[in-house]
Protein backbone atom coordinates (compact mmCIF):
# COMPACT_ATOMS: atom_id res chain seq x y z
CA UNK A 1 0.00 0.00 0.00
CA UNK A 2 1.24 3.52 -0.84
CA UNK A 3 1.79 6.15 1.82
CA UNK A 4 -1.53 7.53 3.10
CA UNK A 5 -2.65 10.91 1.72
CA UNK A 6 -4.69 11.46 4.89
CA UNK A 7 -3.95 9.74 8.18
CA UNK A 8 -6.28 10.27 11.13
CA UNK A 9 -5.19 8.90 14.52
CA UNK A 10 -7.33 8.68 17.68
CA UNK A 11 -9.14 11.92 16.96
CA UNK A 12 -11.24 13.44 19.73
CA UNK A 13 -13.32 16.60 19.66
CA UNK A 14 -15.93 18.15 21.93
CA UNK A 15 -18.09 21.04 20.76
CA UNK A 16 -19.86 22.75 23.63
CA UNK A 17 -21.11 19.90 25.80
CA UNK A 18 -21.32 17.50 22.88
CA UNK A 19 -18.53 14.93 22.58
CA UNK A 20 -18.59 14.72 18.79
CA UNK A 21 -15.55 12.52 18.10
CA UNK A 22 -14.38 9.76 20.45
CA UNK A 23 -11.03 8.60 19.20
CA UNK A 24 -11.57 7.83 15.53
CA UNK A 25 -8.78 6.57 13.25
CA UNK A 26 -8.64 5.91 9.51
CA UNK A 27 -6.48 6.60 6.49
CA UNK A 28 -7.17 7.44 2.85
CA UNK A 29 -4.85 6.74 -0.07
CA UNK A 30 -4.06 8.64 -3.27
CA UNK A 31 -6.08 7.35 -6.25
CA UNK A 32 -9.02 6.12 -4.21
CA UNK A 33 -12.45 7.30 -3.21
CA UNK A 34 -12.71 6.93 0.54
CA UNK A 35 -16.23 7.01 1.97
CA UNK A 36 -16.98 8.54 5.35
CA UNK A 37 -20.43 7.28 6.20
CA UNK A 38 -22.77 7.75 9.07
CA UNK A 39 -26.14 9.10 10.11
CA UNK A 40 -26.64 12.80 10.78
CA UNK A 41 -24.68 13.86 13.86
CA UNK A 42 -22.21 10.99 13.57
CA UNK A 43 -19.25 13.41 13.32
CA UNK A 44 -18.55 13.36 9.56
CA UNK A 45 -18.51 17.13 9.01
CA UNK A 46 -16.50 17.72 12.19
CA UNK A 47 -13.93 15.19 10.98
CA UNK A 48 -13.64 16.90 7.59
CA UNK A 49 -13.34 20.31 9.29
CA UNK A 50 -10.49 19.03 11.44
CA UNK A 51 -8.72 17.54 8.42
CA UNK A 52 -9.11 20.85 6.60
CA UNK A 53 -7.75 22.79 9.66
CA UNK A 54 -10.97 24.74 10.30
CA UNK A 55 -11.19 23.09 13.72
CA UNK A 56 -8.45 21.89 16.07
CA UNK A 57 -8.65 18.41 17.57
CA UNK A 58 -8.78 18.12 21.37
CA UNK A 59 -6.48 15.12 21.05
CA UNK A 60 -5.17 12.83 18.35
CA UNK A 61 -3.43 13.78 15.12
CA UNK A 62 -4.20 14.34 11.47
CA UNK A 63 -1.51 14.24 8.82
CA UNK A 64 -2.21 15.27 5.25
CA UNK A 65 0.53 14.37 2.75
CA UNK A 66 2.94 14.37 5.66
CA UNK A 67 1.89 17.75 7.09
CA UNK A 68 0.46 17.91 10.61
CA UNK A 69 -2.76 19.93 10.54
CA UNK A 70 -1.87 21.67 13.80
CA UNK A 71 1.73 22.47 12.97
CA UNK A 72 1.37 23.42 9.30
CA UNK A 73 -2.26 24.41 8.67
CA UNK A 74 -1.47 26.64 5.69
CA UNK A 75 0.53 23.85 3.98
CA UNK A 76 -2.44 21.56 4.49
CA UNK A 77 -4.91 24.08 3.05
CA UNK A 78 -2.69 24.54 -0.02
CA UNK A 79 -3.16 20.83 -0.77
CA UNK A 80 -6.88 20.38 -0.27
CA UNK A 81 -10.06 21.22 -2.11
CA UNK A 82 -13.34 21.02 -0.23
CA UNK A 83 -16.88 20.92 -1.64
CA UNK A 84 -19.70 21.22 0.87
CA UNK A 85 -23.46 20.74 0.72
CA UNK A 86 -23.95 24.45 1.29
CA UNK A 87 -23.36 25.90 -2.14
CA UNK A 88 -22.22 29.35 -1.08
CA UNK A 89 -21.03 31.55 -3.92
CA UNK A 90 -20.64 35.33 -4.04
CA UNK A 91 -23.87 36.43 -5.69
CA UNK A 92 -22.64 39.77 -7.03
CA UNK A 93 -19.60 38.20 -8.71
CA UNK A 94 -19.83 36.24 -11.95
CA UNK A 95 -19.07 32.52 -11.97
CA UNK A 96 -15.65 33.30 -13.46
CA UNK A 97 -14.92 36.02 -10.89
CA UNK A 98 -15.80 33.60 -8.10
CA UNK A 99 -13.31 31.06 -9.45
CA UNK A 100 -10.60 33.67 -10.06
CA UNK A 101 -10.98 34.99 -6.49
CA UNK A 102 -10.40 31.57 -4.97
CA UNK A 103 -7.60 30.79 -7.40
CA UNK A 104 -5.75 33.91 -6.27
CA UNK A 105 -6.36 33.18 -2.59
CA UNK A 106 -5.10 29.63 -3.23
CA UNK A 107 -1.85 31.15 -4.51
CA UNK A 108 -2.21 30.29 -8.18
CA UNK A 109 0.43 32.40 -9.95
CA UNK A 110 -0.88 35.30 -12.04
CA UNK A 111 0.92 33.87 -15.09
CA UNK A 112 -0.99 30.58 -14.73
CA UNK A 113 -4.26 32.07 -13.55
CA UNK A 114 -6.10 32.46 -16.83
CA UNK A 115 -5.04 29.06 -18.12
CA UNK A 116 -6.07 27.34 -14.90
CA UNK A 117 -9.44 29.11 -14.69
CA UNK A 118 -10.23 28.45 -18.35
CA UNK A 119 -9.26 24.80 -17.85
CA UNK A 120 -11.66 24.22 -14.96
CA UNK A 121 -14.40 26.15 -16.73
CA UNK A 122 -14.02 23.85 -19.70
CA UNK A 123 -13.63 20.71 -17.62
CA UNK A 124 -16.84 21.40 -15.66
CA UNK A 125 -18.73 22.77 -18.67
CA UNK A 126 -19.24 26.18 -17.08
CA UNK A 127 -18.51 28.22 -20.22
CA UNK A 128 -22.13 29.00 -21.11
CA UNK A 129 -22.74 30.80 -17.81
CA UNK A 130 -19.20 31.77 -16.77
CA UNK A 131 -19.84 35.48 -17.10
CA UNK A 132 -23.28 35.52 -15.50
CA UNK A 133 -23.66 36.82 -11.97
CA UNK A 134 -23.80 33.91 -9.54
CA UNK A 135 -27.10 35.14 -8.08
CA UNK A 136 -28.82 34.15 -11.35
CA UNK A 137 -27.45 30.60 -11.48
CA UNK A 138 -29.34 27.36 -10.73
CA UNK A 139 -28.31 25.12 -7.82
CA UNK A 140 -26.57 22.71 -10.18
CA UNK A 141 -24.65 25.55 -11.86
CA UNK A 142 -23.66 26.97 -8.47
CA UNK A 143 -22.44 23.55 -7.38
CA UNK A 144 -20.24 23.42 -10.48
CA UNK A 145 -18.80 26.81 -9.54
CA UNK A 146 -18.21 25.54 -6.00
CA UNK A 147 -16.36 22.51 -7.39
CA UNK A 148 -14.38 24.69 -9.79
CA UNK A 149 -13.16 27.01 -7.05
CA UNK A 150 -12.20 24.00 -4.90
CA UNK A 151 -10.05 22.39 -7.62
CA UNK A 152 -8.69 25.42 -9.49
CA UNK A 153 -5.35 25.15 -7.64
CA UNK A 154 -5.14 21.43 -8.51
CA UNK A 155 -5.14 20.02 -4.93
CA UNK A 156 -4.01 16.48 -4.25
CA UNK A 157 -6.76 15.77 -1.73
CA UNK A 158 -10.42 16.45 -2.50
CA UNK A 159 -13.11 16.34 0.16
CA UNK A 160 -16.81 16.23 -0.66
CA UNK A 161 -19.21 16.77 2.25
CA UNK A 162 -22.71 15.67 1.24
CA UNK A 163 -22.13 17.24 -2.18
CA UNK A 164 -25.33 15.99 -3.80
CA UNK A 165 -27.80 16.65 -1.00
CA UNK A 166 -29.20 19.84 -2.59
CA UNK A 167 -28.96 18.76 -6.21
CA UNK A 168 -31.28 17.20 -8.75
CA UNK A 169 -30.59 13.85 -10.41
CA UNK A 170 -28.63 15.23 -13.37
CA UNK A 171 -26.44 17.52 -11.31
CA UNK A 172 -25.80 14.73 -8.78
CA UNK A 173 -24.65 12.44 -11.55
CA UNK A 174 -22.18 15.04 -12.80
CA UNK A 175 -20.70 15.41 -9.32
CA UNK A 176 -20.31 11.63 -9.02
CA UNK A 177 -18.66 11.45 -12.44
CA UNK A 178 -16.29 14.19 -11.41
CA UNK A 179 -15.25 12.25 -8.29
CA UNK A 180 -14.53 9.16 -10.36
CA UNK A 181 -12.54 11.23 -12.85
CA UNK A 182 -10.49 12.78 -10.02
CA UNK A 183 -9.72 9.34 -8.64
CA UNK A 184 -8.49 8.38 -12.11
CA UNK A 185 -6.12 11.35 -12.00
CA UNK A 186 -4.54 9.98 -8.84
CA UNK A 187 -6.30 12.26 -6.37
CA UNK A 188 -7.34 11.15 -2.92
CA UNK A 189 -11.11 11.72 -2.76
CA UNK A 190 -12.83 11.69 0.63
CA UNK A 191 -16.57 11.41 0.19
CA UNK A 192 -18.75 12.10 3.22
CA UNK A 193 -22.35 11.00 2.75
CA UNK A 194 -25.32 9.34 4.28
CA UNK A 195 -26.54 8.15 0.86
CA UNK A 196 -25.39 4.54 1.05
CA UNK A 197 -26.29 3.76 -2.52
CA UNK A 198 -23.82 6.42 -3.76
CA UNK A 199 -21.15 5.13 -1.40
CA UNK A 200 -21.59 1.56 -2.52
CA UNK A 201 -21.24 2.54 -6.19
CA UNK A 202 -18.32 4.96 -5.83
CA UNK A 203 -16.14 4.15 -2.85
CA UNK A 204 -13.14 1.86 -2.81
CA UNK A 205 -13.07 1.80 0.97
CA UNK A 206 -15.41 3.15 3.61
CA UNK A 207 -15.47 3.97 7.29
CA UNK A 208 -18.78 4.11 9.13
CA UNK A 209 -19.07 6.55 12.01
CA UNK A 210 -21.71 6.37 14.68
CA UNK A 211 -21.91 8.67 17.70
CA UNK A 212 -18.34 9.82 17.15
CA UNK A 213 -16.82 6.34 16.88
CA UNK A 214 -15.71 4.14 14.01
CA UNK A 215 -18.03 1.15 13.89
CA UNK A 216 -16.78 -0.42 10.66
CA UNK A 217 -13.95 0.02 8.17
CA UNK A 218 -12.86 -1.68 4.97
CA UNK A 219 -13.95 -2.20 1.39
CA UNK A 220 -17.70 -2.06 0.77
CA UNK A 221 -17.69 -5.82 0.32
CA UNK A 222 -15.92 -6.33 3.65
CA UNK A 223 -18.28 -4.01 5.52
CA UNK A 224 -21.39 -5.49 3.89
CA UNK A 225 -20.31 -8.96 4.99
CA UNK A 226 -23.16 -11.42 4.66
CA UNK A 227 -25.83 -8.76 4.26
CA UNK A 228 -27.38 -8.36 0.75
CA UNK A 229 -27.13 -4.54 0.78
CA UNK A 230 -24.74 -2.06 2.42
CA UNK A 231 -27.80 -0.40 3.92
CA UNK A 232 -28.65 -3.55 5.87
CA UNK A 233 -25.14 -3.76 7.24
CA UNK A 234 -25.21 -0.06 8.08
CA UNK A 235 -28.52 -0.33 9.97
CA UNK A 236 -27.16 -3.30 11.84
CA UNK A 237 -23.97 -1.43 12.80
CA UNK A 238 -25.76 1.68 14.07
CA UNK A 239 -28.22 -0.41 16.02
CA UNK A 240 -31.28 0.57 13.99
CA UNK A 241 -32.18 -2.88 12.76
Amino acid sequence: MTEAAVAVERLEKTLGKNRVLRGISFSAQPGEIFGLLGPNGAGKTTTLRIISTLLSPDSGTVELLGFDTRKAPEEVRRRIGVVTADIGVYPRLSARENIVYFARLSEVRETDLRRRVDAVIERLDIGSFADQRAESLSSGQKQKVAIARAIVHDPQVLMFDEPTSNLDVLASREVREFMVESKGRGKCVIFSTHVLHDAERLCDRITILHEGQVVASGTTTEVRGAEPELEDAFLDLVGAK
Partner: protein, 378 residues
Protein backbone atom coordinates in the same frame (compact mmCIF):
# COMPACT_ATOMS: atom_id res chain seq x y z
CA UNK B 1 -0.02 41.10 2.15
CA UNK B 2 -1.05 39.81 -1.27
CA UNK B 3 -4.01 37.98 0.27
CA UNK B 4 -5.20 41.17 1.99
CA UNK B 5 -5.02 43.02 -1.33
CA UNK B 6 -6.99 40.23 -3.11
CA UNK B 7 -9.70 40.33 -0.45
CA UNK B 8 -9.73 44.16 -0.49
CA UNK B 9 -10.26 44.28 -4.27
CA UNK B 10 -12.98 41.65 -4.25
CA UNK B 11 -14.80 43.29 -1.33
CA UNK B 12 -14.74 46.67 -3.10
CA UNK B 13 -16.17 45.14 -6.28
CA UNK B 14 -18.94 43.48 -4.30
CA UNK B 15 -19.67 46.64 -2.31
CA UNK B 16 -19.89 48.75 -5.45
CA UNK B 17 -22.37 46.24 -6.90
CA UNK B 18 -24.46 46.32 -3.73
CA UNK B 19 -27.52 48.54 -4.05
CA UNK B 20 -27.74 49.05 -0.27
CA UNK B 21 -24.27 50.57 -0.01
CA UNK B 22 -24.70 52.71 -3.11
CA UNK B 23 -27.97 54.00 -1.69
CA UNK B 24 -26.27 54.82 1.62
CA UNK B 25 -23.59 56.84 -0.19
CA UNK B 26 -26.20 58.49 -2.43
CA UNK B 27 -28.30 59.45 0.57
CA UNK B 28 -25.16 60.71 2.31
CA UNK B 29 -24.46 62.99 -0.65
CA UNK B 30 -28.04 64.20 -1.04
CA UNK B 31 -29.27 64.39 2.54
CA UNK B 32 -27.02 67.24 3.67
CA UNK B 33 -27.91 69.72 0.88
CA UNK B 34 -31.58 68.91 1.35
CA UNK B 35 -31.40 69.44 5.13
CA UNK B 36 -29.41 72.66 4.71
CA UNK B 37 -31.83 73.95 2.12
CA UNK B 38 -34.78 73.29 4.43
CA UNK B 39 -32.97 74.92 7.39
CA UNK B 40 -32.09 77.94 5.25
CA UNK B 41 -35.66 78.38 4.03
CA UNK B 42 -37.12 78.02 7.51
CA UNK B 43 -34.55 80.48 8.91
CA UNK B 44 -35.22 83.12 6.25
CA UNK B 45 -38.96 82.64 6.60
CA UNK B 46 -38.70 83.05 10.37
CA UNK B 47 -36.70 86.27 9.94
CA UNK B 48 -39.32 87.86 7.65
CA UNK B 49 -42.38 86.27 9.25
CA UNK B 50 -45.23 88.65 10.15
CA UNK B 51 -46.69 87.92 13.60
CA UNK B 52 -50.16 89.01 14.61
CA UNK B 53 -51.07 90.81 17.82
CA UNK B 54 -54.71 90.79 18.86
CA UNK B 55 -55.48 93.90 20.88
CA UNK B 56 -58.15 95.86 22.71
CA UNK B 57 -58.05 99.48 23.81
CA UNK B 58 -56.37 102.56 22.34
CA UNK B 59 -52.93 102.18 20.78
CA UNK B 60 -50.51 104.85 22.08
CA UNK B 61 -49.67 107.45 19.43
CA UNK B 62 -46.82 106.40 17.14
CA UNK B 63 -46.59 102.86 18.52
CA UNK B 64 -48.48 101.42 15.53
CA UNK B 65 -45.73 102.68 13.21
CA UNK B 66 -43.11 100.74 15.20
CA UNK B 67 -45.25 97.63 15.13
CA UNK B 68 -45.56 97.81 11.37
CA UNK B 69 -41.80 98.40 10.92
CA UNK B 70 -40.99 95.20 12.85
CA UNK B 71 -43.50 92.98 11.03
CA UNK B 72 -46.00 92.89 13.88
CA UNK B 73 -49.55 93.13 12.58
CA UNK B 74 -52.19 94.58 14.88
CA UNK B 75 -55.63 92.96 14.77
CA UNK B 76 -58.53 94.16 16.95
CA UNK B 77 -60.08 91.33 19.00
CA UNK B 78 -62.81 91.10 21.62
CA UNK B 79 -60.82 89.09 24.18
CA UNK B 80 -56.99 89.22 23.84
CA UNK B 81 -56.46 86.31 26.29
CA UNK B 82 -58.80 83.99 24.39
CA UNK B 83 -57.43 85.07 21.00
CA UNK B 84 -53.83 84.40 22.12
CA UNK B 85 -54.61 80.73 22.51
CA UNK B 86 -54.96 80.13 18.77
CA UNK B 87 -56.35 83.03 16.74
CA UNK B 88 -53.31 85.34 17.03
CA UNK B 89 -49.70 84.96 18.20
CA UNK B 90 -50.08 87.15 21.29
CA UNK B 91 -52.88 89.19 22.85
CA UNK B 92 -52.44 92.72 24.21
CA UNK B 93 -54.84 94.95 26.16
CA UNK B 94 -53.94 98.67 26.12
CA UNK B 95 -55.35 100.00 29.40
CA UNK B 96 -55.76 103.60 30.53
CA UNK B 97 -52.75 105.09 32.33
CA UNK B 98 -50.19 103.41 30.04
CA UNK B 99 -50.62 99.89 31.43
CA UNK B 100 -50.34 97.10 28.87
CA UNK B 101 -51.42 93.54 29.65
CA UNK B 102 -49.83 90.84 27.50
CA UNK B 103 -51.28 87.34 26.99
CA UNK B 104 -49.25 84.59 25.31
CA UNK B 105 -48.80 80.85 25.28
CA UNK B 106 -45.10 80.04 26.04
CA UNK B 107 -45.48 76.64 24.43
CA UNK B 108 -45.90 78.31 21.03
CA UNK B 109 -42.64 79.39 19.40
CA UNK B 110 -44.39 82.11 17.38
CA UNK B 111 -45.75 83.56 20.65
CA UNK B 112 -42.25 83.68 22.14
CA UNK B 113 -40.83 85.47 19.09
CA UNK B 114 -43.71 87.95 18.96
CA UNK B 115 -43.40 88.59 22.70
CA UNK B 116 -39.66 89.33 22.38
CA UNK B 117 -40.31 91.71 19.52
CA UNK B 118 -43.05 93.43 21.55
CA UNK B 119 -40.66 93.96 24.51
CA UNK B 120 -38.02 95.44 22.18
CA UNK B 121 -40.51 97.82 20.57
CA UNK B 122 -41.91 98.95 23.89
CA UNK B 123 -38.37 99.58 25.20
CA UNK B 124 -37.56 101.69 22.15
CA UNK B 125 -40.90 103.52 22.42
CA UNK B 126 -40.35 104.28 26.14
CA UNK B 127 -36.84 105.62 25.46
CA UNK B 128 -38.07 107.80 22.57
CA UNK B 129 -40.94 109.20 24.67
CA UNK B 130 -38.62 109.94 27.61
CA UNK B 131 -36.05 111.60 25.32
CA UNK B 132 -38.77 113.76 23.72
CA UNK B 133 -40.08 114.82 27.13
CA UNK B 134 -36.58 115.77 28.29
CA UNK B 135 -35.90 117.74 25.12
CA UNK B 136 -39.08 119.80 25.58
CA UNK B 137 -37.70 120.70 29.03
CA UNK B 138 -34.32 121.58 27.57
CA UNK B 139 -32.52 118.60 29.10
CA UNK B 140 -30.04 116.49 27.16
CA UNK B 141 -31.58 113.01 26.73
CA UNK B 142 -28.03 111.65 27.09
CA UNK B 143 -28.48 111.67 30.88
CA UNK B 144 -30.68 108.60 30.44
CA UNK B 145 -27.69 106.64 29.11
CA UNK B 146 -24.65 107.71 31.14
CA UNK B 147 -22.68 104.61 30.11
CA UNK B 148 -21.90 103.91 26.47
CA UNK B 149 -20.93 100.46 25.37
CA UNK B 150 -18.83 100.39 22.19
CA UNK B 151 -18.28 96.82 20.96
CA UNK B 152 -15.05 95.90 19.13
CA UNK B 153 -15.41 92.26 17.94
CA UNK B 154 -12.03 90.57 17.51
CA UNK B 155 -13.29 88.50 14.62
CA UNK B 156 -16.06 88.88 12.13
CA UNK B 157 -19.38 88.16 13.86
CA UNK B 158 -20.64 86.64 10.63
CA UNK B 159 -17.59 84.34 10.43
CA UNK B 160 -18.06 83.47 14.12
CA UNK B 161 -21.66 82.48 13.46
CA UNK B 162 -20.51 80.48 10.43
CA UNK B 163 -17.79 78.72 12.47
CA UNK B 164 -20.21 77.98 15.27
CA UNK B 165 -22.58 76.36 12.81
CA UNK B 166 -19.81 74.31 11.20
CA UNK B 167 -18.23 73.25 14.49
CA UNK B 168 -21.36 71.33 15.36
CA UNK B 169 -22.68 70.33 11.98
CA UNK B 170 -19.47 69.14 10.34
CA UNK B 171 -18.30 66.64 13.01
CA UNK B 172 -21.85 65.35 13.27
CA UNK B 173 -22.09 64.76 9.51
CA UNK B 174 -18.59 63.28 9.42
CA UNK B 175 -19.22 60.72 12.17
CA UNK B 176 -22.72 59.85 10.98
CA UNK B 177 -21.66 59.29 7.41
CA UNK B 178 -18.54 57.29 8.27
CA UNK B 179 -20.68 54.94 10.32
CA UNK B 180 -23.68 54.66 8.01
CA UNK B 181 -21.52 54.53 4.86
CA UNK B 182 -19.60 51.47 6.05
CA UNK B 183 -22.43 49.87 8.01
CA UNK B 184 -23.92 47.82 5.19
CA UNK B 185 -20.54 46.88 3.71
CA UNK B 186 -19.20 45.68 7.08
CA UNK B 187 -22.21 43.50 7.76
CA UNK B 188 -22.27 42.16 4.23
CA UNK B 189 -18.65 41.02 4.44
CA UNK B 190 -19.09 39.29 7.82
CA UNK B 191 -22.65 38.31 8.72
CA UNK B 192 -23.54 38.30 5.00
CA UNK B 193 -20.63 35.97 4.27
CA UNK B 194 -21.91 33.58 6.91
CA UNK B 195 -25.53 33.92 5.80
CA UNK B 196 -24.82 33.04 2.15
CA UNK B 197 -22.48 30.24 3.27
CA UNK B 198 -19.29 31.46 1.62
CA UNK B 199 -17.38 31.88 4.87
CA UNK B 200 -16.25 28.27 5.18
CA UNK B 201 -14.88 28.22 1.63
CA UNK B 202 -13.03 31.46 2.27
CA UNK B 203 -11.43 30.11 5.45
CA UNK B 204 -10.40 26.95 3.61
CA UNK B 205 -7.98 28.90 1.43
CA UNK B 206 -4.34 29.16 2.55
CA UNK B 207 -4.79 32.91 3.18
CA UNK B 208 -4.16 33.70 6.88
CA UNK B 209 -7.29 34.96 8.59
CA UNK B 210 -5.53 38.12 9.76
CA UNK B 211 -4.90 39.04 6.10
CA UNK B 212 -8.48 38.25 5.13
CA UNK B 213 -9.71 40.50 7.94
CA UNK B 214 -7.25 43.23 6.97
CA UNK B 215 -8.59 43.23 3.42
CA UNK B 216 -12.15 43.48 4.69
CA UNK B 217 -11.33 46.32 7.11
CA UNK B 218 -9.52 48.15 4.31
CA UNK B 219 -12.53 47.89 2.01
CA UNK B 220 -15.02 49.01 4.66
CA UNK B 221 -12.74 51.90 5.68
CA UNK B 222 -12.46 53.00 2.06
CA UNK B 223 -16.19 52.99 1.53
CA UNK B 224 -16.78 54.81 4.86
CA UNK B 225 -14.38 57.53 3.79
CA UNK B 226 -16.01 57.78 0.36
CA UNK B 227 -19.41 58.25 2.04
CA UNK B 228 -17.98 60.89 4.41
CA UNK B 229 -16.22 62.76 1.60
CA UNK B 230 -19.40 62.64 -0.52
CA UNK B 231 -21.45 64.03 2.37
CA UNK B 232 -18.98 66.77 3.27
CA UNK B 233 -18.33 67.70 -0.35
CA UNK B 234 -22.03 68.07 -1.03
CA UNK B 235 -22.42 69.99 2.23
CA UNK B 236 -19.87 72.59 1.13
CA UNK B 237 -21.43 72.74 -2.30
CA UNK B 238 -24.76 73.44 -0.64
CA UNK B 239 -23.19 76.03 1.68
CA UNK B 240 -22.03 78.06 -1.31
CA UNK B 241 -25.73 78.65 -1.95
CA UNK B 242 -26.47 79.62 1.67
CA UNK B 243 -25.42 83.03 2.98
CA UNK B 244 -25.55 84.84 6.30
CA UNK B 245 -26.56 88.53 6.46
CA UNK B 246 -23.83 90.92 7.63
CA UNK B 247 -23.04 94.61 7.79
CA UNK B 248 -21.21 94.48 4.48
CA UNK B 249 -23.69 92.32 2.63
CA UNK B 250 -24.18 88.57 2.78
CA UNK B 251 -21.32 86.16 3.53
CA UNK B 252 -20.97 82.53 2.50
CA UNK B 253 -19.97 79.92 5.05
CA UNK B 254 -16.45 78.65 4.45
CA UNK B 255 -14.08 76.26 6.20
CA UNK B 256 -10.77 77.43 7.58
CA UNK B 257 -7.72 76.00 5.75
CA UNK B 258 -6.40 74.44 8.95
CA UNK B 259 -9.58 72.43 9.45
CA UNK B 260 -9.33 70.52 6.16
CA UNK B 261 -6.21 68.38 6.87
CA UNK B 262 -7.34 67.90 10.47
CA UNK B 263 -10.71 66.70 9.21
CA UNK B 264 -9.12 64.23 6.77
CA UNK B 265 -6.79 62.84 9.45
CA UNK B 266 -9.53 62.47 12.06
CA UNK B 267 -11.92 60.96 9.49
CA UNK B 268 -9.33 58.33 8.59
CA UNK B 269 -8.77 57.35 12.22
CA UNK B 270 -12.49 57.18 12.96
CA UNK B 271 -13.17 55.17 9.80
CA UNK B 272 -10.53 52.55 10.70
CA UNK B 273 -11.87 52.23 14.25
CA UNK B 274 -15.50 52.03 13.14
CA UNK B 275 -14.68 49.47 10.44
CA UNK B 276 -12.99 47.21 12.98
CA UNK B 277 -15.84 47.57 15.48
CA UNK B 278 -18.61 46.95 12.93
CA UNK B 279 -16.73 43.98 11.47
CA UNK B 280 -16.29 42.54 14.96
CA UNK B 281 -20.01 42.95 15.66
CA UNK B 282 -20.87 41.56 12.23
CA UNK B 283 -18.69 38.52 12.97
CA UNK B 284 -20.81 37.83 16.05
CA UNK B 285 -24.01 37.89 14.01
CA UNK B 286 -25.50 34.92 12.21
CA UNK B 287 -27.35 37.00 9.65
CA UNK B 288 -27.38 40.47 8.14
CA UNK B 289 -30.52 41.31 10.09
CA UNK B 290 -29.01 40.22 13.40
CA UNK B 291 -25.93 42.26 12.54
CA UNK B 292 -28.13 45.32 12.09
CA UNK B 293 -29.52 44.78 15.57
CA UNK B 294 -25.97 44.66 16.97
CA UNK B 295 -24.62 47.66 15.09
CA UNK B 296 -27.53 50.12 15.41
CA UNK B 297 -26.91 50.89 19.12
CA UNK B 298 -23.32 51.70 18.18
CA UNK B 299 -24.59 54.71 16.26
CA UNK B 300 -26.32 56.17 19.31
CA UNK B 301 -23.38 55.38 21.60
CA UNK B 302 -20.93 57.16 19.32
CA UNK B 303 -23.09 60.09 18.32
CA UNK B 304 -23.82 61.00 21.95
CA UNK B 305 -20.38 62.56 22.64
CA UNK B 306 -20.74 64.64 19.47
CA UNK B 307 -24.02 65.98 20.81
CA UNK B 308 -22.34 67.29 23.98
CA UNK B 309 -20.97 70.11 21.88
CA UNK B 310 -24.53 71.08 20.95
CA UNK B 311 -25.70 71.32 24.53
CA UNK B 312 -22.53 72.85 25.98
CA UNK B 313 -21.29 75.20 23.25
CA UNK B 314 -18.54 76.75 25.38
CA UNK B 315 -17.32 73.42 26.74
CA UNK B 316 -13.65 74.00 27.55
CA UNK B 317 -12.23 70.60 28.45
CA UNK B 318 -8.91 69.58 29.99
CA UNK B 319 -6.45 67.42 28.03
CA UNK B 320 -7.83 64.26 29.66
CA UNK B 321 -11.13 64.69 27.82
CA UNK B 322 -9.24 64.23 24.56
CA UNK B 323 -8.68 60.59 25.54
CA UNK B 324 -12.38 59.85 25.02
CA UNK B 325 -12.85 58.50 21.49
CA UNK B 326 -15.26 60.40 19.23
CA UNK B 327 -15.61 63.26 21.75
CA UNK B 328 -11.93 64.01 21.14
CA UNK B 329 -12.46 64.02 17.38
CA UNK B 330 -15.34 66.44 17.72
CA UNK B 331 -13.32 68.71 20.04
CA UNK B 332 -10.27 68.76 17.77
CA UNK B 333 -12.43 69.57 14.78
CA UNK B 334 -14.19 72.31 16.75
CA UNK B 335 -10.84 73.87 17.71
CA UNK B 336 -9.67 73.80 14.12
CA UNK B 337 -12.90 75.27 12.77
CA UNK B 338 -13.60 77.91 15.42
CA UNK B 339 -10.05 79.07 16.19
CA UNK B 340 -8.45 78.23 12.83
CA UNK B 341 -5.53 76.69 14.68
CA UNK B 342 -4.01 73.32 15.55
CA UNK B 343 -3.43 72.63 19.23
CA UNK B 344 -0.73 70.02 18.88
CA UNK B 345 -0.97 68.40 22.35
CA UNK B 346 -4.73 67.83 21.95
CA UNK B 347 -4.25 66.51 18.41
CA UNK B 348 -1.51 64.14 19.64
CA UNK B 349 -3.66 62.81 22.50
CA UNK B 350 -6.64 62.44 20.15
CA UNK B 351 -4.55 60.56 17.59
CA UNK B 352 -3.12 58.23 20.24
CA UNK B 353 -6.60 57.59 21.62
CA UNK B 354 -8.14 56.87 18.20
CA UNK B 355 -5.21 54.71 17.07
CA UNK B 356 -5.48 52.80 20.36
CA UNK B 357 -9.22 52.35 19.87
CA UNK B 358 -8.60 51.14 16.33
CA UNK B 359 -5.93 48.69 17.49
CA UNK B 360 -8.15 47.29 20.25
CA UNK B 361 -11.08 46.97 17.85
CA UNK B 362 -8.82 45.25 15.32
CA UNK B 363 -7.60 42.82 17.99
CA UNK B 364 -11.18 42.07 19.07
CA UNK B 365 -12.27 41.55 15.46
CA UNK B 366 -9.30 39.23 14.85
CA UNK B 367 -10.03 37.19 17.98
CA UNK B 368 -13.65 36.78 16.91
CA UNK B 369 -12.67 35.99 13.34
CA UNK B 370 -10.24 33.24 14.34
CA UNK B 371 -12.34 31.41 16.91
CA UNK B 372 -13.86 28.03 16.09
CA UNK B 373 -17.33 29.22 17.04
CA UNK B 374 -17.31 31.30 13.87
CA UNK B 375 -18.21 28.10 12.03
CA UNK B 376 -19.73 25.85 14.66
CA UNK B 377 -22.20 28.38 16.12
CA UNK B 378 -25.48 27.83 14.34
Amino acid sequence: MRAAWIVYRKELIEILRDRRTLMAIGIAALATPVVLSVISQIASRTATQVYTIGYTGDIPVGLDVLFEATSLKLVPVADPAAAAKQQVDIGVAFLPGGEIDEYYDPSRQSAQIASTRLETILGQYDAAQAAAALRTRGIDPGILTPLHLVAHPLSSPVQAASNSFLSFFLPYILITMILTGGFSAALDSTAGERERKTLESLLLTPAPRSRVLLGKIGAVTTISLVAAVAAIGSMFLALTQVSLPGPSGSTHISLSPVAIPIMVWVALLIAISFSSVTLALGTLAKSFRQGQAYVTPLYFITIFPASIILFIPDFNPSLAYYLIPILNAVLVLRDAIVHNTVVWPTLAVTSISLVGTGALSWYAALRLFTREALLTRS
